[in-house]
Symmetry: C2
Subunit: 242 residues, 2 copies
DNA sequence: CAGTGGTCTAGACCACTTT
DNA sequence: AAGTGGTCTAGACCACTGA
């Protein structure tokens, strides 16, 4: 198992989170940076580092000259849209215990759009993996991942059960760096509606994304569809630069 | 006009952005922190501060032991979902020159859900403001803002043309701190479809949000609907903690 | 005016990646 | 082993908020 001890900053973050959920801070006011620094025996820089990260997580708000304050709703937002990495994790955060079924794996030639997305030639073969995430036999997410077949080390479809970022790491040697995602509203048609067990005509949210490896090369094209009645995305929006 | 000189960190950020778009960095590799620090005559901390912010903007990626790299797609993502403040700005970022029409302002009694959202009593009066954002006479966004009438200083509907965050600041004295937003896929019905000049049955993305002031009190309930064919949201997703 | 967060410095050592 | 980003310190001064 990986050990790696938590840094001071991480310990400070954990400490503050505990005190926040315990309701330690009157009216949501967090003690001044200098006070916390001496109290915890670390430098003010370390406190500021922890504050900075908590602010980015939407948990606190800092106001110059006024103080640092707890952001009540921030604690309840489970899926931080920009930091989603695995749908399994997202579902667990929502209190589900998901099961995953691989619906199909196949290779097929790439169309023009897909080839452009993946940086390959039209007609090059692409490995397509369809998966369904369920909670209690209720389908929640349908995903379709497409990877250039030339990247995959194993010839057969082994590893399709893995989360896609692990598949790309272990079976392609191209660890995922980030996604560029588009948010698209769709109306479910016959096939997808059947799959998600919803009536045709039901609106759903869809992610269309391209995954890039650490060298900025596109390695993945993915399409995901979510059942809005079972999984709804929330986010905190705040002024840019804050 | 407000003066406020840019901090060193902001100057470093601007400098780096310029060099990035100019293609100054071979293969997307940005010089080491220490090198940049001496070159620009600032401390390494300042460089790291700038890097940290650029990383959060999705423009660069840092890899311990390896280096700092340009994130090509990061430069093109115009609307950073979590930092949207004014739709006017979002549309301008997309290259539009939007016009705004106030469709209606009225007061009405709050229903149970709305009262709960705004922290008022059911039946208390609420000021409702409907707006339409257009580009070249093409409707793009329809918004509906609801504020407790008791918060509004002016009795008449003055100020409805202002961006809502300015309205809350100037006409209610309750400056907006952040939104908690839900992403909801919808199918346009008759009224909204007419308004946006789309066929009924067209899918659309909808934000349902509650705006909180700086003291964590709810002050705004808002619903916004977007034409997907004219305005599509993109975002960069990366591993949590990265 | 007192107190708070924001900016900045100079330097030390650690953890990781790459050669 | 060399080079890079990650963590951390101690201290100075500035900009803003609120009583």
């Amino acid at each position: 198992m990986i050990t790696r001890k938590p840094s001071l900053t991480e310990q400070v973050m954990a400490h503050l989170k505990e005190r926040i959920v315990a309701g330690d801070f009157e009216e949501g006011r967090i003690p001044p940076e200098t006070e916390l620094a001496t109290e915890l025996g670390v430098s003010r820089t370390t406190i500021r580092d922890a504050f900075s990260r908590l602010e980015h997580e939407g948990i606190i708000t800092r106001r110059q000259g006024a103080g640092t304050f707890v952001n009540q709703p921030g604690l309840q937002i489970k899926s931080r849209l920009e930091e989603i990495w695995s749908y399994d994790e997202v579902l667990r955060d929502h209190g589900y215990t998901p099961s995953i079924e691989v619906l199909a794996t196949r290779t097929e030639p790439a169309g023009a759009d897909l080839a452009a997305d993946l940086g390959i030639e039209e007609g090059d073969r692409v490995l397509v993996m369809e998966k369904l995430f369920r909670e209690n036999d209720q389908p929640v997410i349908h995903t379709c991942n497409r990877v250039a077949a030339s990247l995959v080390h194993d010839p057969d479809g082994a590893g399709a059960t893995l989360p896609i970022y692990e598949f790309l790491d272990k079976h392609c040697g191209r660890p995922l760096g980030y996604y560029v995602s588009e948010l698209i509203p769709v109306v479910l048609d016959g096939h997808l509606a059947d799959m998600l067990r919803l009536d045709a005509g039901t609106p759903a949210l869809c992610f269309e994304e391209i995954g890039f490896d650490r060298d900025n090369q596109p390695v993945l094209s993915a399409t995901s569809v979510f059942r809005d009645d079972l999984l709804r995305f929330r986010l905190i929006r705040r002024k840019a630069g804050a």
